[in-house]
C-alpha cells in the first residue's frame, strides 16, 4: 500500500503540467512542463517500489530525452509560436471528446477491476534489476543493442552532412583573395589617419585622400552619417585649414 498524500501530490504534478501539452502556446513551456511530469513519474516509481527505475527515469527522461527535445526546439527556432486555432474542421472537438472518452473508459475499466495487492511490494534495487535483466531478459537486452545502433545510424543518415567541398588551407584562401583583386591586407577602419575617429568618418590613405569604403554601407543607407558631416566637408575642401575653425 502506498501513501495517499504522496499519490495526490504525484497526481497533481503529473496531470496539471500534462495539460500544457494541449493548451500551452510556446513549445518550450510544453517541454518544461513535460520535464515536470517526468519528475513526477519518477517520484511515483520510487513510491511504488522502483527506486532504480525512478532514478533512471530522471537521468534518461529529464536528463537526456527532454533535453534532446529542448535542443531540437532551439534548433528549429524557439520562438516558433503555434496558432492554437484549429484548421481542420471538427478536429478539435471530436479529438478532445474522443480522447476524453478513451480516458474515461479506461478509467472505468480500471475501477471495475478487482486485483488483490501483494502484501509486500518488490524493491527494484539495482542488483535485483541487473540480475533479472541478464538472466531472464538477456535476449531482449541484446536485441535492444541493435535498436540503439539503428537509432544512431538513422540520426546520422538524416542529419549528418559530410564535407562536400575540399577543405581550404589559409594559404589557398589568401591566394584566392589576391587573385580576385581584393585587399591583400585588412581593410582600413574608419577614422584611420583621419582627424576624427567617429564611425562615419572615412579613413585617409597615405596621400590624405578619403577611403570611402572604409565607412560601413549600412550607415549610409540608414542616413546615420550626420555626425561626421563637417569632417567630411573639410576633407573634401582641402583649402580649409584646421586652424580656420
Amino acid at each position: 500500500m502506498v501513501n495517499a498524500a504522496m499519490f495526490w501530490i504525484i497526481a497533481a504534478i503529473t496531470v496539471i503540467p500534462a495539460f500544457s501539452l494541449l493548451f500551452a502556446r510556446k513549445a518550450v513551456h510544453v517541454a518544461m512542463s513535460v520535464v515536470l511530469v517526468m519528475v513526477g513519474l519518477a517520484a511515483a516509481y520510487v513510491t511504488l517500489g522502483a527506486p532504480f527505475l525512478g532514478m533512471v527515469q530522471i537521468v534518461v527522461y529529464t536528463g537526456a530525452v527532454m533535453m534532446l527535445f529542448l535542443f531540437v526546439l532551439m534548433l528549429v527556432g524557439v520562438d516558433q509560436r503555434e496558432e492554437l486555432k484549429e484548421t481542420i474542421k471538427g478536429q478539435r472537438w471530436i479529438g478532445l471528446f474522443t480522447a476524453a472518452g478513451l480516458g474515461a473508459f479506461l478509467v472505468s475499466i480500471v475501477v471495475r477491476t478487482v486485483l488483490p495487492v501483494a502484501p509486500t511490494g518488490v524493491q527494484g534495487e539495482p542488483d535485483v534489476i541487473a540480475i533479472m535483466l541478464f538472466e531472464k531478459y538477456v535476449l531482449v537486452i541484446e536485441v535492444l543493442g541493435f535498436l540503439l545502433i539503428t537509432a544512431a545510424v538513422g540520426a546520422l543518415v538524416l542529419t549528418h552532412t559530410p564535407r562536400l567541398k575540399p577543405r581550404r588551407t589559409q594559404l589557398e584562401v589568401q591566394r584566392d583573395r589576391v587573385r580576385v583583386g581584393a585587399d591583400p591586407v585588412n581593410k582600413p577602419m574608419p577614422g584611420v589617419y583621419a582627424r576624427h575617429n567617429a564611425l562615419d568618418v572615412p579613413a585617409l590613405d597615405p596621400e590624405g585622400r578619403p577611403i570611402e569604403h572604409s565607412v560601413s554601407r549600412v550607415l549610409k543607407i540608414r542616413n546615420q552619417t550626420v555626425e561626421g558631416e563637417q569632417w567630411r566637408a573639410q576633407l573634401e575642401d582641402p583649402s580649409r585649414k584646421e586652424g580656420d575653425r
Binding site: 503555434e82 479529438g95 542529419t159
Partner: protein, 99 residues
Amino acid sequence: MDPINFVILASILFAIGSAAVLLRRNAIIAFMGVELMLNAANLALVAFSRIHGEIDGQIMAFFVLVVAAAEVVVGLAIIIAVFRARQTISLDEPAELKG
C-alpha cells in the same frame, strides 16, 4: 491507498498524450504527446508490478525507456530533416500526400 489508483492516473495521462497528438500542429509537441503515452504505459506497468509483487513490470518499463529514447532520436532526426526542407515543423503543412 491501493496502487491501482496509479493505473487510473496512467490512463488519464495516456488520454492526455493521445489528445496532444490529435490537437497539436507542432510536430515536436505532438511527439511529446506520444512520449507521454509511453510513460503512462510505464507507470501502469510499475503500478501493476507493485500489485503483483513481481519485478517483471519494472523490467518492462526499463526496456520501454530504452526503446523510447531510441525512438526519440529517430523521430527528432526525421523532424529535423523535414524542417531543413520546409523551414517549418507544423504537421499541417506537409499534406500533399492525400486522397
